[in-house]
């Protein structure tokens, strides 16, 4: 029985001012509607252009449930194509990445396509004369996603032809990408170090929520960060503080500290924690790095760039970035109760290797399937995914620091334990789910 398809009103009713209905997390029909509408109406992260540095380089991934290939076309631009042959549907690019030269060639019947998707040639073409083929969708080649935007190396796509423009969708939130890229003395990032892939038996939005949830670290991570902190406190006086301890200990900051760190709320579900200070603020200086930054930008600007230590910036619908440590997490939806989390890291071009080393240590300590912090979080998501089936109360609560005045406010800095960004996530969810219904 369909409860939500084609019923925008029923979908909007799932999001109250400070509560969200559990179906948003557990219902498979809503998940299918998310794939069809939400992930088509919004600008979804595809990949970084350093993954396709040269003409013909490609990278395969998904936008929601859609298989796509990101490719560097012969004109130097990055294109995003739906990864299926218009003939029989075979995925044309089979590997995660590679170089296809000037054309893609389908491995089944050798149809060829230029790297902008257009049909290049078919073998044994006389069989198509006067068949109506040239007027069929197949003759158009691989379907190209028309709305693609490369923002300082980060490639986004909007599957639907109609919808909000890139700048309109992201607004001021792009400043977090700016800060991450500006941290390279030459203003350039490269994907580096490999990607951690971690399977979660929970809804993708539980991960989105968690990124601005500042009331969970001292509770859920007491087992991991708390243990590391307690063990470090027993170390003899004068022991040099290991990088791993620097990474773990701030998770145990008390509520008051997270309050003071602040949260910035943007439109369309975007926002970030760590406005004034963050868990990344007090990392040790990396030798030589500030001098490089000063030489590149001048002292004042270099200090301004490095003084911005935003914690998590969440971009609706499904990524989070950490500017100060050049990390991006992508929450790939697989089904209502299954999500693939990919954690990507970047090298600051022309900066010391030690920065990348720290970023990679953070990634494996916090985001790996072998990470104790990851175990803490996933246990909570999976329990929620099961617990939400309980009847009696069908609502997820987000009342912390709710004020009805927020409904008309934009681009606000607020108290760091506010659940405002989460509430905005679901306002954006209801909006973009129903935008084309």
């Amino acid at each position: 029985m369909s409860r939500y398809a084609g019923d925008a009103e029923a979908i909007r009713k799932l999001v109250r001012e400070a509560e969200v209905h559990r179906d948003v997390f557990v219902d498979e029909e809503l998940f299918q509607l998310e794939m069809e509408h939400l992930f088509a109406n919004t600008w979804v992260y595809v990949g970084h252009d350093s993954q396709v540095a040269n003409e013909g380089d490609f990278y395969t991934t998904t936008i929601g449930s859609q298989p796509v290939v990101m490719v560097r076309h012969t004109d130097g631009e990055v294109k995003v194509l739906l990864n299926r042959c218009p003939h029989k549907g075979v995925k044309i690019a089979g590997e995660t990445c590679g170089n296809t030269g000037k054309v893609f060639r389908c491995p089944y019947h050798a149809w060829r396509f230029r790297t902008d998707g257009s049909l290049h040639s078919l073998p044994w073409t006389q069989g198509y004369d006067n068949t109506g083929f040239k007027d069929s969708p197949a003759a158009l080649g691989m379907t190209r996603v028309k709305n693609v935007h490369n923002y300082r190396g980060f490639v986004f796509a909007r599957l639907n032809d109609e919808g909000p423009g890139f700048e309109e969708f992201f607004g001021d939130s792009l400043s977090s990408f700016d800060n991450m890229v500006d941290r390279s003395p030459v203003g350039k990032l490269q994907v580096a170090g490999g990607v951690l892939r971690y399977m979660h038996n929970c809804n993708w939005k539980m991960l989105v929520d968690n990124q601005t949830d500042t009331c969970h670290p001292m509770v859920a991570h007491e087992s991991s960060a708390g243990t590391a902190k307690a063990m470090w406190q027993k170390a003899p006086e004068g022991t040099p503080k290991p990088m791993a301890v620097e990474i773990f200990v701030p998770f145990m900051s008390p509520y008051e500290d997270f309050d003071k760190m602040g949260i910035r709320v943007w439109e369309n579900g975007h926002g970030h924690t760590g406005v004034h200070h963050s868990i990344h603020s007090d990392y040790s200086a990396i030798p030589g790095y500030f001098d490089q930054m000063k030489a590149a930008y001048g002292e004042e600007r270099a200090k301004a760039i490095l003084g911005e230590a935003r914690h998590n910036t969440v971009y609706f619908p499904n990524i989070m970035i950490k500017g100060p440590i050049q990390l991006l997490r992508l929450f790939k939806p697989i089904s209502a109760n299954r999500t693939l989390v990919e954690s990507w890291t970047f090298r600051l071009v022309d900066a010391p290797d030690l920065l990348l080393e720290r970023t990679l240590m953070y990634n494996r300590l916090i985001n790996a399937p072998t990470s104790v912090v990851g175990h803490d979080d996933l246990e909570m998501y999976e329990r929620a995914q099961e617990g939400l089936h309980a009847n009696g109360n069908e609502w997820v609560n987000m009342h912390r620091l709710y004020d009805p005045a927020e409904l008309t406010q934009k681009n606000v800095v607020t108290v760091g334990t506010n659940e405002w960004v989460m509430r905005n996530t679901y306002r954006a969810w209801a909006h973009f789910m129903t935008l084309d219904m």
Binding site: R197, E222, A244, L360, R364, L378, M380
Partner: protein
């Protein structure tokens, strides 16, 4: 006091003693004697689980684990924690090892390397997951006992998407 952690008989370990050490180490893990397990590591020992096939660099390429004794101790301590909810209930592990093969021995350098193919099972609640891997042990003799300088675990599917891996392979 670590049971089953005998001194070697002579000045240098025999191949049999090296193999026995690797088998005992796996048994210590499966018996959940994690503190005993930690004592099997040299103080500067590392546990490394690469992320990439044939990975050579643990520093500028990400790994699933690359941990010194401090980080391994945090894990062991955490497993016992009252508020370690991902271990309520606890996980259990099961190793099946092929006979460890002595890859190299350098008595002058006090360096011995073994290579062991293994299947590893980790289970919690109703889930049981099988992993296939090769363990490479870099061992040295300290105070008459074998100690781990580096244990490297290469999963055959190191680049696959995994769920939680909470114990030690």
């Amino acid at each position: 006091m670590n049971r089953n952690d005998p001194k070697i008989d002579g000045a240098f370990p025999s191949d049999r003693e090296l193999a026995d050490f690797v088998l005992r180490e796996a048994r210590t893990l499966d018996q959940q004697r994690f503190e005993d397990w930690l004592t099997l590591f040299a103080n500067d020992g590392y546990y490394w689980m690469p992320l990439e096939w044939g990975q050579t660099d643990p520093r500028l390429v990400c790994s699933l684990m690359y941990e010194d004794k401090l980080l391994l101790s945090v894990r062991v301590e955490r497993l016992k924690g009252e508020r370690t909810f991902s271990q309520k209930p606890r996980s259990r592990s099961h190793h099946v090892l092929q006979m460890p093969h002595v890859e190299s021995r350098d008595e002058a350098a006090n360096s011995y390397v073994t290579w062991t193919a293994m299947h590893y099972v980790e289970t919690r609640n109703d889930e049981q997951t099988l992993y296939a891997a090769w363990a490479t042990h870099h061992l040295a003799v300290e105070d008459g006992k074998l100690r781990i300088k580096l244990k490297r675990v290469d999963l055959v599917n190191c680049d696959a998407a995994f769920g939680n891996i909470q114990l030690f392979m």
